[in-house]
């Protein structure tokens, strides 16, 4: 009996102790769930059938839901893995202190039950609250005499809950498998494993460059209207290229810089190059993910913006309400997916910052001890932190611009022939996105610096014990 009581209490306590990682995870899950509900709310709304062109609208929204399911599952799994990696030490400690695996598994099950109850129910409630706003927007944009009504479609709730229960359950199974497969001593080492100097993977770097060239070439030469597969191929190539270049290309470049002694051993360059190399090794995948998500958000937003602004009025003039419905549906599709990718980028960014904060703290203490003033150390940390977060944005902007020929050919079919208009939609989106990205970066930086300070003082206390 006692065990049954112990476990939930321990679960609550460890969730609270890990609030810095758990809270963003819960918030992200809830936000993802809420948006999922909102798409379903529109899609399943009983007034939908009365809309002009309703079959193509719901067809489109169906595809959006599918894409949304896949990507949101990936984002949640990423957050879950981050959380687990950070907690390996704690779990290893439990098992060394005599908690057997059965207990650890029960602890994880308990936590998952709590986490999913909180985030899914919270998410659905948030989604219902938000759906009023989406309803207003939808009604004001849709060319229909019969506006949609506010309602809570049961099927939307059930579907949303079902999808995320499945996603969280799959993650629980992965976590359980991980606990069963690793020895406690490895759990304890957990966070430090894989902290090796990477070999320069020329092959991967070259594959990345080739994939990027091919992807861009397709965009500049092919006609996606004849073959939509080309669009997907280009997107896939660019994503592959992004991962290759971030993980291998950056390391190759930085190592080249490091081998130039006269350059490398100058104070500024020394910390920048060694710091970047270290970060790239650990964060390449995360940064590539930020880049990929940002690119998708950017392409999607700029294209739908262009469609809406460009083709909307045209449809209005011709009075083609079917076309307008489809435009509007595209607009919502872009809105939902962009929001999802933006959330994904934010989450990855936050976790990157927090984990780098941990590492900064150690370097901070050591550098002070070898003769750097506290201000100098802060300067170093502050000046090099943005360097790791600028490349994903820069590369996403580059990808977005490179996708312009492709997207403008698609837009041409819809009667938007003015390339300058397409370009300015794209630039406006880029600008807004850069501002949002910067704000998110600043907000998460604050958390990171606080972390460095906490950990640093903790260190001094330890050192003086």
């Amino acid at each position: 009996m006692r065990r049954r009581i112990l476990c939930p209490r321990l679960a609550v306590r460890s969730m609270r102790a890990n609030a810095r990682f758990y809270l963003p995870y819960l918030v992200a899950c809830a936000a993802v769930v809420a948006l999922h509900y909102d798409i379903q709310f529109l899609n399943m709304n009983s007034g939908m059938e009365q809309l002009p062109g309703s079959s193509s609208v719901s067809g489109l929204l169906g595809v959006v839901v599918l894409a949304y399911d896949v990507f949101s599952a990936l984002i949640i799994s990423y957050a879950n893995d981050f959380l687990m990696k950070r907690r390996q030490r704690e779990l290893g400690l439990y098992s060394i202190l005599g908690m057997d695996r059965r207990h650890i598994r029960r602890l994880l099950r308990c936590e998952t039950v709590y986490a999913s109850t909180i985030s899914i129910s919270g998410g659905v409630l948030l989604g219902i609250a938000q759906s009023g706003g989406f309803l207003l927007l939808f009604n004001s944009l849709m060319p229909s005499d019969i506006p949609l009504d506010f309602e809570v479609p049961e099927i939307a709730v059930v579907y949303t809950v079902f999808v995320y229960v499945v996603v969280l359950a799959i993650n629980l199974l992965r976590n359980l498998a991980r606990v069963s497969l690793t020895r406690p001593i490895e759990l304890i080492r957990g966070t430090d494993a894989g902290d090796r100097e990477p070999r320069t993977r020329w092959f991967t770097a070259i594959v990345g460059l080739l994939a990027l060239t091919c992807g861009y070439l397709i965009s500049f030469t092919a006609n996606p209207v004849q073959d939509i597969m080309l669009f997907l191929a280009a997107a896939l190539l660019v994503i592959v290229a992004t991962y290759c270049l971030f993980s291998a290309g950056s390391v190759a470049l930085l190592k080249k810089l490091r081998s130039n002694k006269a350059y490398y051993y100058q104070p500024r360059h020394f910390f920048t190059v060694s710091g970047m190399l270290h970060r790239m090794r650990r964060n390449a995948a995360g940064l590539a993910t930020i880049c990929a998500f940002s690119t998708m958000a950017l392409v999607m937003t700029s294209t739908t913006l262009c469609m809406y602004l460009g083709a909307g009025p045209a449809a209005l003039q011709t009075g083609d309400s079917d076309l307008r419905s489809v435009m509007c549906a595209y607009f919502f599709a872009g809105l939902f997916l962009s929001a999802l990718f933006l959330m994904g980028s934010t989450l990855v960014l936050y976790y990157k910052q927090v984990s780098e904060g941990y590492e900064d703290a150690r370097g901070f203490a050591v550098m002070q001890q070898v003769g750097m003033s506290a201000e100098e150390v802060w300067d170093t940390i502050r000046s090099q932190a943005p360097l790791a977060f600028l490349p994903p944005l820069a590369m996403a902007a580059c990808h977005t611009l490179a996708a312009l020929p492709l997207t403008s050919k698609i837009l041409m079919v819809l009667g938007i022939t003015d390339f300058w208009f397409v370009l300015s939609c794209c630039m406006a989106t880029l600008l807004v996105y850069a501002v949002i990205y910067f704000l998110i970066y600043r907000l998460t930086s604050r958390e990171r610096y606080r972390m460095v300070l906490d950990r640093t003082s903790e260190r001094w206390v330890h050192a003086n014990e």
Binding site: R196, P267, S274, Q369, V370, G371, E376, N464
Partner: protein, 257 residues
């Protein structure tokens, strides 16, 4: 000639929980001469780290003065402190404090990089140093690939590459096995034989017995002092043990009284 002079240094840690704070050092004075190898002995909590941090200007005393080469450390301006520390003081820690993301070479270069030393000069200084410390083959490896003893020798190289006036060591053998401790201590003795001033803090009798002079710190005060003089290391070892015993029994007497 007095290289380092500690005059009436006290340190009170103000804590939120306790009103009057913790008195870690009480009116401590001592002198370290040029070329000496001094050990400060004391149990855990006796104030050794506090003293060393103050000597390294990593922390400020609540009162008193610290003079290194006649310059008062407590008066050095905050923004010159880091440079001062880098140029005059070498520091070795119990847990090495190497940066895992840098190669051994770059870890050793770190203080020189901060001073803006040209790369050729760094290389020129490092070569004889790593040879004498027996880590010449390791310079292109990373700290996580080394044993504890090797890491500590890298830390010594990092501390010495700036040619500091004094080498401060806070329990440098604390994380090492007996073999590695032994070899680190003979390195210290060799360095000292070549003129390096060393101040080492430790709670190991074994480690302290390598020094020329041993100061005993207890509850934030110096209680006794031993000089090696013409005696052997073994004799010093026994003498240290006796003093520790006496200090312990006297305290029991105090407690009873």
């Amino acid at each position: 000639m007095a290289l380092l002079e500690v005059r009436n240094v006290s340190k009170v840690y103000k804590t939120r929980s306790m009103g009057q704070g913790v008195e870690a050092l009480r009116n401590v004075s001592c002198i370290v001469n040029q070329g000496e190898f001094v050990a400060i002995m004391g149990e855990s909590g006796s104030g050794k780290t506090t003293l060393l941090n103050i000597l390294a200007a990593l922390d400020k005393p609540s009162s008193g003065q610290v003079l290194l080469q006649r310059q008062d450390l407590t008066r050095v301006r905050e923004r010159h402190l880091a440079t001062f520390r880098r140029e005059h003081i070498g520091f070795v820690f119990q847990d090495f404090n190497l940066l895992d993301e840098l190669t051994v070479r770059d870890n050793i270069f770190l203080p020189l990089v901060l001073s803006g030393t040209p790369h050729e000069e760094m290389e020129r200084r490092m070569q004889p140093l790593v040879q004498s410390l027996g880590i010449g083959q390791l310079v292109d490896q990373f700290p996580y690939e080394l044993s504890g003893g090797q890491k500590q020798r890298v830390a010594v190289a990092r501390a010495l590459i700036t040619r500091p006036a004094i080498l401060l060591a806070d329990e440098p053998t604390g994380a090492l096995d007996s073999h590695a401790s032994q070899s680190l201590l003979s390195i210290f003795q060799n360095l000292n034989a070549r003129g390096q001033t060393i101040l080492m803090v430790t709670h190991s009798v074994q480690a302290a017995s390598h020094a020329e002079r041993v100061l005993f710190l207890k509850d934030g005060r110096f209680r006794r002092q031993l000089r090696r003089g013409e005696h052997s290391r073994e004799e010093l070892y026994r003498a240290i043990s006796r003093v520790l015993e006496k200090l312990a029994t006297r305290d029991q007497g105090d407690a009873r009284a």
